[in-house]
Symmetry: C2
Subunit: 375 residues, 2 copies
DNA sequence: CAGCCTGACGTTAACGTTAACGCAAATTCC
DNA sequence: GGAATTTGCGTTAACGTTAACGTCAGGCTG
């Protein structure tokens, strides 16, 4: 492993000069600067991150900007779980998580949260953002200083200089839902799609993927139902009532958000089992019992926990370990049913299994007397 | 953050003594030993892994004991991909991967590979094992020195003191396959299950899960077909021929290993599309085109790449970062179909995106000189 | 009792990087 | 043209841990 000292020797300067050149701290003549750069490239010098962080003793703070955990049926707890897991795993590293939440229905609240992070700029070294409010996010992104890396989770604002974006292709997930629905209803019948106003691009894409994929099926009719989220808590419960009343022939319902349980509740009360097949999204708590007993046949999961986990991991890879990171992560579209729910349910398997953690203890206690010998 | 120096001050000794006490290097009186231990516990002292590894400058070597990558339709390439990805990501760490492969049909070859690792004991600091040959594995495991941590992937040997085991529940994956099959054949018909001798516990469990889950379906008949792997290359192609001949009413085939493509090939040649529904396992290369064009309806994936990736990660967490690791990781049972294949195909999304990232270059070329020396 | 060993410590030089500090020489300013 | 600043570099003390190496007292052997 080539060190900074060797670089200095080859360049005929001191390590101080090399360090200044490395970090553009100035006070280096142009000629020397270039000579050092050349030698570094030649030797493929990589700074030793251990030594670097030992010397710096810097605390990295990663701000996490997501909706209030309770929103969307406590959906937003899930990414936070993954984030906490990442923090746990990265305990030896000097990192700190700074959660900042906003009301996903209030632009004002989003801006306030964003300002809070940017104002105390000295505090945040990296950002994980769930840009649910797309318009507001766009203007906010422009305000992020270029030196501050940020990654998107859940969805993303296009044409930004984000470090990376971690999401699932909503269109394709809708298409997958369509395929499953086609299977469930045996290729014919009437399928209702539940929607909500105000519209959400992300959700709309799921619906588009769904309807497009079924368009060529001549025996399948698709009908769209829409509800206003402001009317009440159980929007989709009442929407399902309307579906039953207006379309008694319906044999499939597609719920493109996490509120499938509301529809399932109504089905359980009013419809014999197996008559209407329900496909929903997201492994939020209220959905689980319905998936288990079959009122929801499939849930499509976008692994929000993995998204949060990876968000932090990418920042660490980039900032601490100086590794290149992928500009984009397309998470797999998971199909969850009663049979494989257990493996998915505890968010990530590692966290689930880790709960019983085990004492730290002396497993693999170091054999005595082994030491690197130095010249 | 509390340092070793502070511990020393509180205990009224020097840092050398504390270090000896910490690593049981002897030469510390019992009284002092205990005093230090108490203070460490009180202060919740955690050694700084950065400083530690900077000082040690130790290369960790992780041996990977899996079948030849080409076997099982090149299935065993997949865990290796995950392992390489982990190595790539952990580049700043002083770790080295040492792949050792064996012929999964030869116990002798397995033992030879195992001995190779144990003999040069000084070389391996951790082990990732795929114990495909269960009997042989069992005796091999007993020979592993207690100080050498190992993790299982793919399956595991019960009642061992492994650091962790990473696998998928084969029984439950079979049950999931049954559920999907039930859906595909509309709840009635004849389903053929392909098996192979010599038997494999792991595969048998999948079959058990499959047949158990369909037992209560009165309109579904399950028939078992068995082939000898030694007969020829295209075992399952010919087995499928037998199925068609002996059970012309068959409308579903379950292939509990990665050879679904052989069956699919025959179906494509002899049967109209959509008449016989095929469910297989594993995203090996030959399976992919058949999944895409529908001759294979579902593939169940156990994410072999993630298994390899996590295997290395766990060893790093344990050995380098001194973090507690879960004793068991139950990986999710993934359902892959034409619609979500893309997201799964590149093994892990991160690797897929990262492929362009940079050349493999001089990784693995051990730096000369500084090497840990043991007594 | 000299010589040797050993138990129980303390001291110190690494490991590689960082940034503050120092110090000439060159440049700028009034 | 002298003072003040800037430029370009070298030196050095950290950061926390590790293990080789000293030291010193006490015990044992012949």
């Amino acid at each position: 492993m080539v060190t900074i000292r060797e670089i200095a020797r080859k360049a005929g300067v001191s390590i101080g000069t090399v360090d200044r050149a490395l970090h553009n701290r100035g006070r280096v003549s142009k000629a020397t600067q270039e000579r050092i750069a050349r030698i570094i490239a030649e030797c493929r010098y990589k700074p030793n991150v251990f030594a670097s962080h030992l010397s710096l003793a810097k605390q990295y703070t990663f701000a996490v900007l997501t909706p209030e955990p309770e929103q969307d049926g406590r959906y937003w707890e899930l990414p936070m779980r993954g984030i906490r897991k990442a923090a746990e795993e990265l305990k030896p590293y000097p990192i700190r998580i700074w959660p900042v939440h906003y009301d996903k229905y209030s632009e004002a609240s989003f801006f306030k949260a964003g300002e809070k992070i940017l104002k105390s700029r000295s505090e945040a070294d990296g950002l994980v953002i769930a840009p649910v409010l797309s318009a507001a996010s766009e203007t906010f992104i422009r305000r992020i200083p270029p030196a501050l890396p940020y990654v998107f989770i859940d969805s993303y604002v296009p044409d930004t200089s984000c470090l990376s974006r971690i999401a699932q292709n909503p269109y394709r997930s809708g298409a997958l839902g369509a395929r499953l629905m086609d299977l469930l209803i045996g290729g014919k019948g009437t399928v209702a799609v539940c929607r909500m106003v105000p519209r959400d691009y992300h959700i709309d894409d799921r619906v588009n993927g769904f309807t497009e994929a079924l368009r060529f099926r001549k025996d399948v009719e698709i009908v769209s139902f829409e509800a206003d989220r402001k009317t009440d808590e159980a929007v989709f419960y009442h929407l399902a009532e309307r579906i039953l009343a207006e379309r008694p022939s319906c044999n499939g319902i597609f719920v493109p958000n996490s509120l499938g349980h509301q529809v399932a509740q109504l089905l359980k009360e009013r419809v014999p089992p197996g008559r209407i097949h329900l496909i929903g999204y997201d492994l939020v708590e209220p959905n689980l019992p319905f998936l288990k007993d079959g009122w929801i046949r499939f849930l499509i999961s976008q692994r929000p926990d993995v998204q949060g986990y990876q968000g932090i991991q990418l920042l660490v890879q980039h900032l601490l370990l100086k590794n290149p990171v992928p500009a984009e992560m397309n998470l797999p579209i998971d199909i969850v049913t009663a049979e494989n729910l257990d493996e998915h349910a505890g968010t990530d398997p590692q966290e689930r299994a880790g709960r019983s953690a085990e004492a730290v203890e002396a497993r693999g206690a170091r054999p005595a007397g082994r030491r690197a010998v130095r010249k």
